[in-house]
């Protein structure tokens, strides 16, 4: 297998995985349990974290974009694209930066990512709905993001440790 084909396949598999996770998550919306708009566990973020750690930022970003676009098309909810894109990109940027910080673990990275994702979503919602009042939801969402971030953090540690499928990995 050539290098680029392997890379493409890898990205495709991860995109499919991320998409599957986010669709599954959508089937069991956390917001039924807790009435807070925009609240989700963010398990699809696992894939982004994994790609950032084990692949490259470029590939991770590509996977994220593909996941958001395909998710909107599959879910038939194009209006949600603005929210997931803003949240996703902001979370990506924050996590990419934090991964360069020494002394952090994936817990911190994922919590910051979840918080950034929620902030991005709320910013987009404020823009789309032209109502600054939506910012009230941000405080509880940020608190929730500590917990959801810790969950995805724990999961991503397991994932990154157990599946060392990188450029230098065994293929």
């Amino acid at each position: 297998m050539t290098h680029s084909v392997r890379r493409l396949t890898r990205c495709a598999v991860l995109t499919a995985l991320a998409l599957a996770i986010s669709v599954c998550e959508g089937l069991v919306p956390l917001s039924i349990l807790i009435p807070l708009p925009g609240l989700r566990l963010g398990l699809a973020n696992l894939v982004t974290v994994y790609a950032l750690c084990r692949l490259s930022a470029r590939e991770a970003f590509g996977i994220l974009m593909a996941r958001c676009l395909l998710g909107a098309i599959v879910g038939g909810n194009l209006s949600a694209l603005a929210f997931s894109l803003t949240g996703g990109i902001l979370a990506f940027a924050v996590m990419w930066l934090l991964l360069h910080v020494r002394g952090l673990s994936l817990f911190g990275v994922c919590i910051a990512g979840a918080a950034a994702h929620n902030t991005g979503q709320i910013l987009a919602a404020m823009g789309v709905l032209a109502s600054p009042a939506i910012a009230v939801y941000l405080a509880p969402l940020l608190l929730a993001s500590i917990l959801t971030g810790a969950v995805t953090g724990a999961a991503s540690i397991l994932l990154v440790q157990r599946v060392p499928w990188g450029d230098s990995g065994r293929t």
């Binding site: 349990l33 807790i34 939801y137 929730a144 724990a154």
Partner: protein
């Protein structure tokens, strides 16, 4: 995965307070007053429309100003032969009669001739109503017409004396609440607060299970001065009567709209307002007027006796001296707000 469950529980605790269900409010005019129904339900539109239609139907039966209402026909036939009325009208007349008898005519459904003399009568013309102080001779001539109650038999009713007139204004709005509750319940609404011109009925509790909360207006204050905040138990109604609601001034004297049927003059019972909390909304409405006329001593002694309709209610009585008597059933959830305005509060127990 094990650690996710406790985390989720913690998340639920942290964010559980952010309840998102917004009520739907229906405001409308009927029975010469403003009404609003606030329903906590995902899709209460049909229920609200049904409830409003029900109120309009009752208004058409019980209005004194509509030419074809049951009440108008009954009044037109006073002293003559019995008039066929709707079963709902017959039921309300019987309820009004019972309240009139038990209150010693302090609640008087046939006070209309005297009310009209003061200009407090048929209220559709309130904006153009001419208020005046009637001559004593005029009142003496009218008062005998306010003693005999309508005779109800089956679905017919008759006023025994020519010149008599029924006015159900002091009980109709309360009575309508029963029909509103029925209409809402039939359409699946389980939580609503119903305000029919100052008569507040709680259908169920708030969605979070806590009781609905109601402000009681300060009878001497402005628009946002409140006497207290109280909890209204599921299924109960509170109704307030006070001279401050409608009055006029003549020769430097204030004449309010709650006429004492014994004198034909505005009631001088030493009370500023009476709030009655009862399970039957019609009785809450009628008795708030009756107790205002009877005064604080009589109201409290009836309540303390443990017998009769009043004993089954809870009361808030505000005297001219600024004393507020609250019966013990309302103590839980009561928040007094009028200390700054000089009110003193006393919980009455039996």
């Amino acid at each position: 995965m094990k650690r996710i469950v406790p985390l989720l529980c913690a998340a639920a605790l942290l964010t559980g307070c952010a309840s998102s269900q917004e009520p739907v409010i229906q405001s409308f005019f009927a029975m010469d007053t403003t009404m609003s129904i606030t329903a906590y339900d995902d899709n209460p539109t049909e229920a609200l429309v049904a409830a409003q239609q029900e109120v309009n139907r009752l208004d058409a039966l019980w209005s004194r100003t509509r030419p074809d209402s049951d009440v108008t026909r009954l009044n037109a036939a006073a002293g003559g032969s019995a008039v066929e009325v709707d079963p709902d009208t017959a039921a309300l007349l019987e309820k009004a009669n019972a309240a009139a008898v038990e209150s010693g005519m302090s609640f008087d459904p046939v006070l209309a001739p005297v009310m009209d003399a003061w200009g407090f009568g048929a209220t559709e013309s309130e904006t153009t109503a001419v208020h005046r102080v009637p001559e004593q001779a005029e009142l003496d001539a009218l008062l005998p017409l306010t003693r005999d109650l309508p005779v109800v038999e089956g679905d017919t009713a008759v006023l025994p004396v020519a010149g008599q007139a029924v006015d159900l204004g002091a009980i109709a709005k309360g009575a309508a609440a029963d029909y509103v509750v029925e209409a809402l319940t039939e359409h699946g609404v389980e939580s609503a607060i119903i305000a029919l011109g100052g008569n507040i009925t709680a259908l169920g509790t708030k969605p979070d299970g806590s009781p609905f909360r109601v402000y009681v207006r300060d009878p001497q204050g402005g628009g946002e001065d409140y006497l207290c905040l109280m909890s209204l138990p599921a299924g109960w109604t509170c109704s307030t009567s006070g001279g401050y609601e409608r009055y006029f001034e003549a020769d430097g004297q204030i004449y309010h709209h709650i006429i004492d049927p014994t004198t034909g003059y505005p009631a001088q019972s030493g009370l500023l307002s009476v709030t009655v909390v009862a399970q039957d909304p019609a009785l809450a409405d009628a008795w708030s007027t009756a107790l205002y006329v009877l005064g604080a001593d009589e109201a409290l002694s009836r309540w303390e006796s443990g017998e009769g309709t009043v004993a089954e209610m809870d009361l808030i009585l505000v005297t001219e001296e600024g004393r507020v008597y609250v019966t013990e059933g309302l103590e839980e959830g009561l928040e007094t707000l009028g200390e700054g305005a000089g009110y003193t509060y006393e919980i009455v127990r039996r």
